[in-house]
Symmetry: D2
Subunit: 137 residues, 4 copies
């Protein structure tokens, strides 16, 4: 699937994604970069992006990576998501680089590294691993 096709699918079926303003910056075979825009709603005390906004972005990125690898599977669902928060993000946009580590028939497993946009050299602000369950065709 192309970026446009995935964004159309998610725009129709995932109001959460539309509400948060996620976009897809880049896509490969089992990889992608997705982006959380800067918004006041995502900030928390200390002028930093809230943890749930980061986890939501990572979960979306994993879904896009699965779609990039196996095509349209609307009912794929997360079974486990583990997030380690590593440093305070700056109060701006966040990008997430996603990569599938294993793609089986029933499960996909991957990792996501999240960065404050423009500040990638400082290292990731969070690192996520996640497992998606893929329904039988």
């Amino acid at each position: 699937m192309t970026i446009a096709e995935i964004e159309e699918l998610c725009g129709d079926s995932l109001p959460w994604v539309a509400m948060l303003g996620f976009t897809i910056e880049d896509i490969g075979k089992g990889t992608c970069r997705v982006r959380l825009p800067q918004r006041d709603e995502f900030l928390r005390p200390g002028g930093t992006v809230s943890g749930p906004a980061l986890m939501s972005l990572a979960d979306y990125g994993m879904y896009v990576a699965v779609l990039s690898a196996i095509g349209r599977v609307e009912l794929a669902v997360t079974t486990n998501l583990t997030c380690n928060f590593l440093r305070r993000p700056k109060p701006g946009a966040v990008v997430a680089d996603c990569r599938l580590i294993k793609l089986g028939k029933r499960l996909a497993y991957g990792e996501v590294s999240l960065f404050s946009e423009g500040d990638e050299a400082q290292g990731p602000v969070a690192h996520v691993t996640a497992t998606y369950s893929i329904p039988p065709a």
Copy 2:
């Protein structure tokens, strides 16, 4: 802190919480029940509540549980959150029972069991563990 005091603090400082409509149903010493209302924005294909909405609720519940135990610490931040999704939630409200397992000077660790409201007997839809870092006073 009382429910009213915590909700006022979060209403002022956490626009994310206000946007999602979280409420506190009950509070103890290191425990609480928080609630995610029914909203179309939280649904995903298959008529179920999206994973990120569940994780956001659990993260909020842990923060409330920390505040209930040690009082006002606006800058406490999550360092790890692990979510296991156990069954499909019904397309309605979700409640989350939170409990601190360890409360140290610098770290709080606890667990959260999430249920479709009114459907608690079916068992949890998700189970979360999380670690919060508490800043020095």
Copy 3:
């Protein structure tokens, strides 16, 4: 299955369990208490029990809890284990209380609280969640 039946099964098929000297202290329907004895091999600098010995005990306890609930399934395998280390164990025996949170046809999920034996009132030294995959009958 009874304690004696499970210990005989594991004694025959799991040399790892025999090598480490695990025992089953108590068993219920989807619950159990297992025990790691005191041994110099399990200690590490600072006079504390090594993390891998604790994780091994928790993984064993989850397997016993699964067997207690569904009977003999030799090929059940762990798919995820998450361990949070909460305080330094004393250099002695460790007990682990295990509880299944969900038991489905294909997956079992549960939690394990580990304590220094005789020191349970201090709170757990570690807390584990784990998922087991159950093979089709």
Copy 4:
């Protein structure tokens, strides 16, 4: 620290490592490859390497990676270890590639990819993330 220095330190202070026969195959600045030899004690039903042996290897690899980056810190301890088991290992030796993702003053966080030796092209048998707490100097 060199491989010989780290192996001498661990041989003196970590009887667990000696008991399991771990070795260091390669070391960099914040990276390493460690190895679990083939032994009957590590096998479980189905002719595969037991999960706890894999987690023990990953925990050791993270410790070696920390030592490689900051030198002798005997009292560094794991605070969280999350293991996802991805495919059945072959009943032989296992190698683990470790990499620090963040190295702060008080915390190190990294990931470990484990492979059946000689079978790396099949993809990892397990993937681990772990956090180490570094004591003040």
